[in-house]
């Protein structure tokens, strides 16, 4: 089970618009991206996120695990997240 840390200064709006104040970069997340990001912000583990997403969306566990892993890599590449 893994957990991630999102720095406090990163803000996400209800529309999924994300702003990184230290560089001025902005990102737009779709609905599922926003849901996952908010769960990460709340300190949920990857296991809990898989469970929540498979219950809320029509998606198989294997697919969400793979997409989640890609998403985390992308967030890391933009310095939006750290593994803890």
């Amino acid at each position: 089970m893994k957990k991630y840390h999102i720095p406090e200064y990163i803000a996400i709006s209800d529309t999924g618009f994300l702003f990184l104040p230290s560089t001025g970069e902005t990102f737009t997340l779709n609905q599922i991206g926003k849901d996952i990001f908010k769960m990460l912000q709340a300190g949920e583990s990857d296991e809990n996120i898989y469970e929540k997403i498979t219950s809320d969306y029509d998606v198989e566990r294997g697919v969400i695990e793979r997409d989640f892993s890609d998403f985390i890599l992308q967030l890391k590449s933009y310095s939006l997240i750290k593994a803890i």
Binding site: Y9, F19, P21, S22, T23, G24, E25
Partner: protein, 346 residues
């Protein structure tokens, strides 16, 4: 109070005059008039509503300091100017040179000294930064064609070829460097600066130093849109304490007096900031500063009149500017006024 401001050339390579005036006019405390000092009858700021109350043509710096001073005396007899804010790099030397004479006739300025201006010059910046522990790309000064042949021994390509006042080209090989060198030599003369190319993201800071080493205010920005001339056409205020710390250190080291723009590159490789340039005046995007909570141009006005100005300590992060292009319509008679009489009232 009457404040005269230069640099109303709000073109695709905009001067800072219009945003400096907008900032001053935005201050609720300011009660006075703005006099535009212009070099050309087609400077767009002349024709903008609610910017300058009146405009006057002044001679280009190349006409000499006597011509400039005599013209200002003429304008002063009519207008009784209290303060002049020159906003263009190329005129700073002249205004610093005549600032005591201006003071004698009752016109204040708030300008750096020659020494300060010299330290931040492109050809001196490397030594100054090295002395103060600030990272700066390595550079060499080119004073002849022969010097160009030393590039391959000192740097890997690409390199940045810069003019002493304006312009910069990225050259990927010796042929491109020579082509840039020839353009610069014809336009700006020697020395030409060849600089190590730091790959990364550019950040800018607008700041005001009070002349004692203290930073009255500073706002950091990242350009969101850059024109083919390298001008920021949109930008956003950002929160990076490291960037502001370096800027404070520089202002302290220089004991900078006046507005300024600091240009940095954040290295993609190391994440460290490299200082690329210090521009000795407010940038054309200075209106972002009051919009984010730091009215630096008006603070400069207050400092010029020896008023106490508390330091700005914060600004609103996420404030965006987007520049626009807008056609101003005027009548030929208005153009005639400025072209023939050298004076204009909208």
């Amino acid at each position: 109070m009457k404040i005269a401001v230069t640099g109303l050339n709000a073109t695709d390579n905009p001067g800072p005059g219009v945003p400096v005036i907008r900032s001053i006019l935005d201050s609720e405390e300011f009660k006075g008039e703005i006099i535009g000092l212009i070099y050309d009858s087609l400077e767009p700021g002349i024709y903008m509503k609610d910017i300058a109350d009146r405009c006057y043509l002044i001679p280009y710096p190349s006409s000499g300091l006597d011509a400039l001073f005599n013209r200002i005396v003429q304008i002063h007899e009519k207008e009784k100017i209290d303060l002049i804010i020159p906003t263009l790099d190329s005129e700073l030397f002249g205004f610093i040179k005549i600032k005591e004479k201006l003071e004698e006739i009752g016109i204040k300025t708030f300008l750096p000294t020659f020494e300060q201006l010299n330290y931040r010059a492109k050809d001196k910046l490397f030594d100054f930064c090295t002395l103060h522990g600030i990272k700066v790309p390595k550079n060499i000064l080119i004073n002849s064609m022969q010097d160009m042949y030393s590039i391959p021994q000192k740097f890997d390509y690409p390199v940045v070829v810069k003019g002493i006042f304006y312009d910069a080209y990225i050259a990927n090989n010796f042929e491109e460097a020579m082509s840039a060198f020839n353009k610069m030599r014809g336009k700006w003369g020697y020395p030409i600066i060849v600089q190590e190319y730091v790959k990364g993201t550019e950040f800018n800071v607008v700041a005001l130093g009070d002349g004692t080493g203290n930073t009255t205010g500073a706002v950091a920005m990242r350009k969101l849109y850059i024109t083919d001339k390298g001008k920021g056409w949109a930008g956003i205020t950002i929160d990076d304490p490291v960037l502001l710390d370096i800027s404070h250190k520089l202002i302290k080291g220089l004991r900078w007096k006046s507005g300024m723009e600091l240009e940095y590159m954040k290295s993609a490789e190391s994440g460290e900031y490299y200082l690329l340039e210090i521009n000795p005046r407010f940038p054309a995007w200075v209106y972002l500063a009051p919009a984010a909570g730091q009215n630096l141009p008006y603070a400069l006005v207050q400092l010029a009149f020896n008023k106490e100005v508390p330091n700005f300590t914060k600004f609103k992060v996420g404030t965006i500017f987007v520049r626009s292009s807008w056609d101003l319509i005027t009548d030929i008679s208005k153009f005639e006024e400025i072209a023939v009489k050298g004076e204009f009232k909208l």
